[in-house]
């Protein structure tokens, strides 16, 4: 039971990351690698601030701002300096590695015996740590998903979405598509950084290497959700992001329970993403085979 609760909590917590990756990969259609730098950036900012005695909630807000700056940098590299999106993201990611080390002063900051959002919630609700994690993560992702749903239903949000579909049309409609792309990447990395801050507080430490593979985790969650829910509308896509993240964590928990080495997890995740991405092609091949 405890395992189920903590798996659910992990899924909901990491859904914040998936939501951020969803904004860049799906809405903007920009493959943004900044993720693997802005995620540990959030962890670094939050851990350092919590250790210094700042409120853990305030630390998350600071992490969001830090992530937004990182996203804006990638956006400017991509739109204004015309650096290809993948490279722009990688450049910011590499730069952030040094910056994260500077923020923490070392490669790893422990949050032992500090007040994290989870310990505060556990005390406030007078419950076990895994229930507290579930409540806090669930509350956070719910608020964020509702906010994203509202934002992309506003005139400004619609412009960002449409820019992802068709820059020609949006320029013809009088929209500065560069600004929209920067804004989208800024929001995306703000969310990803927030997730890093939350995960660090849950793990009890921030590590400079905690970002490795996060992008693929986010993608895996999004794709799993889309396949399971057959998401086409914006609303169902958002729900799919959350559902997919939880399912991904369940899959991970199951394979670990069945005895897979934790070291093989990233390999496993990569294979899952490859399979999910090639699914449409495989399906058409099978369909063509049946007809022929």
């Amino acid at each position: 039971m405890d395992l189920a609760i903590s798996t659910g909590a992990q899924g909901l917590m990491w859904a914040i990351l998936s939501l951020g990756v969803f904004l860049s990969f799906r809405i903007l259609d920009v493959p943004d690698m900044t993720c693997e730098g802005s995620f540990p950036l959030g962890g670094a900012i939050a851990a350092t601030m919590v250790v210094a005695g700042v409120s853990p909630w305030l630390a998350i807000v600071a992490a969001v701002i830090g992530g937004m700056v990182a996203g804006a940098v990638t956006g400017i590299l991509y739109t204004k300096l015309k650096i290809p999106a993948i490279l722009a993201g990688i450049l910011t990611m590499i730069a952030l590695y040094s910056i994260n080390l500077h923020i923490m002063g070392k490669a790893n900051v422990s949050l032992l015996r500090t007040d994290t959002i989870f310990r505060l919630a556990s005390r406030f609700l007078d419950c076990g740590s895994s229930v507290a994690a579930l409540v806090v993560s669930g509350g956070l992702i719910l608020v964020l998903v509702l906010w994203v749903y509202w934002f992309f239903g506003t005139e400004l949000g619609m412009c960002i979405r449409a820019t992802g579909f068709n820059v020609h049309m949006m320029r013809a409609q009088g929209v500065n598509t560069d600004t929209m792309t920067i804004l989208g990447l800024l929001l995306s990395n703000g969310l990803i950084s927030a997730c890093g801050a939350v995960v660090a507080q849950n793990n009890g430490f921030a590590d400079v290497g905690m970002g490795i593979g996060t992008l693929v985790i986010g993608l895996a969650s999004i794709i799993i959700g889309e396949v399971v829910l057959n998401a086409t509308s914006f609303k169902t896509s958002l729900i799919a992001v959350m559902v997919g993240s939880v399912i991904y964590r369940v899959i991970i928990a199951v394979v670990l329970y069945m005895g897979m080495e934790p070291n093989d997890l990233k390999l496993f995740t990569a294979v899952v993403v490859v399979l999910a991405l090639s699914m449409p092609l495989i399906k058409t091949h099978i369909a063509a085979g049946k007809e022929g």
Binding site: E155, R161, Q173
Partner: protein, 264 residues
């Protein structure tokens, strides 16, 4: 009013691929002029439209809309004066978004985009009424994704989007080139109806000489980056396809097959 003065544009300047696309064009369009543009491939028709729209910036010359110099104004800023329909039906709309969402974006053309929920019931009703006037039955598919629509339906929607907020200049770049003849007819009739009703200043490129003669009150012919003929409403009434073809032969030996076929 649209005024183009001595505009020049060269692509790949200083390389072996140098191409003088526009070799000095001056053109004044009065309010309400509906001008069709014909010319062989590579004559510079699309380049001219792109220069006016701001997708390209001229090397020399001046472009004014309603007396305002827009020569170097970025495309997205100038969009408040200009409505556009592209040759490619995919280019004018956002495929993954709903019909009414596309219309909302066009409704804010040239205005700021507020941090405010984009739809109210009265707004939705307004968009639905506009779509109903197209007469294509799309008013029952307001929340369907545009990607599910046919090329002709998408061009009709693009046309509606270009004109729902009255543009100073409407630019149509072969709006029916990618459509089958019957759909092309429907879209052109819509163009004619909307342009005449709203008295829009319009430039429309076409490869079909019959359409060029049938529509509008002015016709210009381009060749090799220059305007080689400019017929006003009176002269245009007398024009025939044969006369246009002969005019083409005067300036060039190779009347393209496409033009010949389009004229039949």
């Amino acid at each position: 009013m649209l005024k183009v003065t001595d505009v020049k544009k060269t692509f790949f300047k200083g390389t072996v691929n140098e191409k003088k696309a526009i070799r000095g064009i001056s053109l004044t369009m009065n309010d309400g002029d509906f001008c069709t543009v014909i010319g062989s491939n590579g004559a510079g028709k699309s380049t001219l439209l792109n220069l006016i729209a701001g997708a390209l910036i001229p090397d020399e010359g001046l472009i004014e809309i309603d007396g305002k110099d827009v020569t170097r104004m970025p495309e997205y800023k100038r969009a408040k004066y200009i409505g556009r329909v592209f040759q490619d039906p995919m280019k004018g709309t956002a495929a993954g978004m709903q019909l009414q969402e596309n219309l909302m974006l066009a409704d804010r053309r040239g205005l700021c985009h507020r941090l405010r929920w984009a739809f109210t019931p009265s707004r939705e009703q307004y968009y639905q009424n506009l779509v109903a006037r197209l007469g294509l039955g799309l008013e029952n598919r307001m929340t369907a994704r545009i990607g599910l629509f046919s090329g002709g339906q998408r061009q009709a929607v693009t046309l509606l989007m270009a004109t729902m907020r009255r543009p100073e200049v409407l630019l149509l770049d072969e709006p029916t080139a990618a459509l089958d003849p019957k759909t092309a007819e429907t879209v052109l009739n819509l163009v004619n109806q909307i342009v005449t009703e709203q008295k829009l200043t319009t430039l429309m490129i076409t490869h079909n000489m019959r359409d060029a003669l049938r529509l509008g009150n002015r016709l210009i012919m381009m060749n090799d980056g220059k305007i080689i003929a400019d017929y006003n409403a009176e002269q245009k009434k007398e024009l025939t396809i044969d006369m246009l073809l002969r005019k083409f032969e005067e300036v060039t030996d190779d009347v393209s097959d496409r033009m010949m076929l389009g004229g039949k």
